[in-house]
């Protein structure tokens, strides 16, 4: 299998690292080589973050370049827009339409960037309202698992394998709600793809 590159991006603290971990474990369980590259430290204090997961028969570099990403999962609207040039022309874009305004916008120093959703829609983005779906399962923190549910539809891994990895990785009392979050993400993605 040739190498597939997935980029997860968002705001520090949104759970991109945990989501990437789930994906990497699912790919490893399928017997593939996998690399997961993340950045800790200063950017975690509410800064712009991205995590790259690459899997296939043999993966060399853990990082990627513009025009080389197969699947971009935007945990936040502005951060998805910031990295849209990384996605291959035929690549897939999954975007949580919620926006978290950066500090220069909150303070009024810079204008609010309007119209991002329309541009991303033109680029073929499927919108998954992960925060709302996560609230629906009673666990706002599982928005990242909702997005992995959506991502899972376009990847060659068995649904059961995802469920096993999620169950082994999240705290015991949140297994049920996280599995449900995963399911809602899958369903929302299927509906989004039908609507395209």
């Amino acid at each position: 299998m040739t190498v597939t590159t997935v980029m997860l991006c968002g705001v520090g603290g949104q759970g991109t690292i945990m989501a990437a971990d789930l994906l990497a474990k699912v790919a490893a369980a399928a017997g593939l080589d996998v690399k997961l590259s993340e950045v800790h430290g200063m950017s975690q204090r509410g800064g712009s973050v991205d995590t790259v997961v690459r899997f296939g028969d043999e993966v060399f570099s853990p990082v990627t370049d513009p025009g080389m990403v197969d699947h971009l999962v935007g945990f936040e609207l502005i951060e998805a827009m910031r990295r849209v040039h990384y996605v291959k022309p035929e690549g897939r874009l999954l975007v949580n339409p919620q926006a978290i305004r950066p500090l220069p916008v909150l303070t009024g120093e810079l204008p609010t960037p309007h119209g991002l959703a329309a541009i991303l829609a033109d680029e073929g983005a499927i919108f998954i309202d992960a925060d709302e779906l996560a609230c629906e399962v009673g666990s706002p923190k599982s928005a990242n698992v909702v997005l992995m549910g959506a991502l899972s539809l376009g990847l060659p891994f068995a649904e059961e394998s995802w469920r096993e990895v999620i169950a082994s990785r999240v705290p015991a009392h949140t297994i049920e709600s996280n599995l449900r979050a995963f399911e809602l993400g899958r369903r929302a993605c299927r509906e989004g793809e039908c609507a395209l």
């Binding site: 705001v11 971990d21 990497a24 474990k25 490893a28 080589d33 996998v34 690399k35 997961l36 590259s37 993340e38 950045v39 800790h40 430290g41 200063m42 950017s43 204090r45 509410g46 800064g47 712009s48 570099s61 853990p62 990082v63 370049d65 513009p66 025009g67 080389m68 609207l77 502005i78 827009m81 910031r82 849209v84 040039h85 996605v87 291959k88 022309p89 919620q98 926006a99 978290i100 305004r101 950066p102 500090l103 220069p104 916008v105 909150l106 303070t107 009024g108 810079l110 204008p111 609010t112 960037p113 309007h114 119209g115 991002l116 959703a117 541009i119 680029e123 925060d131 609230c135 706002p140």
Partner: protein, 588 residues
């Protein structure tokens, strides 16, 4: 045995444990921090945070003297602090294997500079190993202990962000077999480095380097991969992975040990390819080293700063860039910021109001340099704030503006105490603010001597910070709750008005340590006069409404700290009741 997904840092920790290291010491620093945290969780090991990297390496030197193996972990700038013992430990050599993980940060994701630690290996004359991925991180670390003991020398493992923070699959090795601790032998000619003995060890170090150069020619750490012979590439670490991705047909000399170099092996490789290139990040250490062997290295238009990627290498070798999407849009940057409820915020707000010249330091509070607080004038290295404030004063001060040094609790323990002693000793004045948030916050909440929390949760002792500052000879000392704006402003006004040296300890726990949130606040729209004062706090929970210009509080992230209530002069910030669910901003 199955394969496990481990980061490079975790793999180094596992490798050290498999090699029988029984003690781990370090100081937290991105991207090295998880190494020691992971090592500490292995059965049968002792691990501790030291106040700084110099102390950490000296503790490990003692472990080595007593005949046991140890692991030291730090970030690249930490090795500057630990350089003093490192250079002389190259002379003494080791008894128990001594391995130092140094994690570089090309691209400066979370650092104040990008230095290539290879230079230290050559400067101090110690071998350095560069793993490319987690499997190598584990195996090279195990091997490093053998090299350390066989060649009587400390060994550096050099990683970068893309090794330390990349997870890849690892086949773990067997559990360690610990030999009993050897009987202690007194050996002053090896360990007491006064001139008479050091001169002999200096000669012996050169003898050991000759042996290590021979080892470099033979070791499987270095590897030649012959493919198309028109292009040959010398590389190490994560760069090897980028090269394999970018130029799959090129022949490669993969250096697992970039110092000392295998001169004969490299010469042979160079003669078997048409053109030889060296690919490395953020420095030209390897290029210079290979050239110094008399080997011709082609010049390549590569970036000389920051990280490399396969794309950057492809571009340099004339491959066309991939097609990218055209979508172009001007986006606001997203700088990191202080959390809602952060106790540092009122301190910087008050410093700005006091028009202070602020010499800053390394930690979360460095974010006080960013808008809208924008109240920091310098940030150089751990502990620099206090010495620099003294220096500004010696230069004649800053016309009409008070000078205040700002330093965190962990940074004060790391390198601030000696600086404060210097100011006291030399009769300096000025104001020093110690922001004691009870934790080493930026690197992810590690314990330190100021809070008495240790890495393996052993019983400990909390430094009496007030007593320490007094013992250094500081007479003017106050402890202030930073959440109290009036107190912050009053104390800065009082203390900057005197010529006498004064220390203010701002003590309140990091907002992330508080498990319970208070009820959030909201803005009373009728009372809000749009004055914008609360916006100037730079709290991510407060924003200026685009249409009405009134302040709005995001109740989902407000922690109810009440800082904004204190700055509002119109009583427009009020309690509303429990938090609602997150609702993102509407950017439609």
């Amino acid at each position: 045995m199955g394969r496990t997904l481990l980061s490079g840092n975790e793999a180094v920790a596992r490798g050290a444990w498999e090699a029988g290291a029984v003690v781990g010491v370090g100081y937290p620093g991105t991207p090295s921090t998880e190494t020691l945290q992971r090592f500490a969780r292995h059965p049968g090991v002792y691990a501790e945070w030291a106040p700084n990297e110099k102390v950490a390496l000296e503790v490990a030197a003692g472990v080595s003297l007593a005949g046991r193996r140890s692991l030291v972990a730090m970030k690249h700038v930490g090795l500057n602090v630990a350089a003093d013992p490192l250079f002389t430990l190259a002379y003494t050599g080791v008894r128990g294997g001594l391995v130092i993980l140094v994690a570089d940060d090309p691209g400066m994701h979370s650092s104040q500079n990008e230095q290539d630690s290879h230079n230290y290996a050559a400067f101090a004359r110690v071998p350095i190993l560069d793993p490319s991925d987690s499997q190598e991180a584990l195996e090279f670390t195990r091997e490093a202990y053998e090299i350390s003991e066989n060649y009587d020398v400390p060994v550096l493992i050099r990683s970068t962000v893309r090794v330390s923070h990349t997870k890849s699959l690892v086949e773990e090795g067997p559990l360690p077999h610990l030999e009993p601790q050897p009987a202690y032998v007194t050996e002053p000619s090896k360990w007491v480095m006064m001139p008479a003995m050091a001169k002999l060890r200096r000669i012996d170090l050169d003898r050991r380097m000759v042996e290590l150069r021979q080892f470099a020619e033979e070791t499987a750490l270095n590897r030649i991969e012959m493919r198309d012979t028109s292009v040959g590439i010398v590389c190490a670490g994560a760069c090897y992975l980028h090269v394999r991705e970018a130029l799959p047909d090129a022949s490669v000399f993969k250096l697992g040990m970039p110092f000392p170099l295998p001169a004969a092996g490299l010469a042979k490789f160079a003669s078997s390819v048409d053109k030889l290139y060296v690919i490395e990040e953020a420095d030209d250490f390897l290029t210079r080293s290979v050239r110094s062997l008399g080997i011709t290295v082609e010049t390549m238009p590569m970036p000389t700063v920051g990280e490399l990627s396969p794309g950057a290498i492809r571009l340099a070798f004339g491959c066309s860039a991939p097609v990218t999407r055209e979508a172009d849009f001007s986006l606001p940057p997203r700088p990191p910021l202080m959390c809602p409820g952060c106790p540092h915020r009122p301190v910087f707000y008050s410093l700005r109001k006091a028009r202070a010249v602020v010499t800053g330091d390394i930690g979360c509070y460095t974010l006080g340099a960013l808008k809208p607080l924008a109240a920091m004038d310098s940030c150089v290295d751990m502990g620099a704030s206090i010495g620099m404030a003294h220096g500004v004063e010696l230069a004649g001060g800053t016309a009409e503006r008070p000078v205040v040094a700002v330093i965190g609790d962990s940074t004060f323990a790391h390198s601030g105490i000696t600086s404060l002693m210097n100011t006291v000793y030399n009769g300096g004045g000025g104001t020093i603010a110690i922001l004691d948030n009870r934790i080493t916050a930026m690197t992810g909440h590690q314990g330190n001597p100021m809070n008495g929390i240790t890495l393996q949760e052993r019983r400990s002792h909390e430094v009496d910070l007030v007593g320490l500052v007094k013992a250094l000879g500081v007479n003017r000392l106050q402890v202030v709750d930073p959440h109290d704006f009036a107190a912050c402003e009053r104390v800065f006004a009082e203390e900057t008005a005197t010529d006498e040296l004064s220390v203010i300890i701002f003590r309140a726990p990091c907002a992330l340590l508080l498990k319970e949130k208070d009820d959030p606040y909201a803005v009373d729209e009728d009372a809000c006069t749009k004055c914008g004062v609360c916006i100037k706090l730079g709290c991510p929970a407060i924003s200026k409404d685009e249409h009405t210009s009134r302040a709005v509080i995001d109740t989902a992230i407000c922690v109810g700290c009440g800082q904004c209530v204190q700055v509002c002069r119109f009583d427009a910030i009020v309690h509303t009741g429990p938090a609602c669910d997150f609702k993102g901003a509407d950017l439609s």
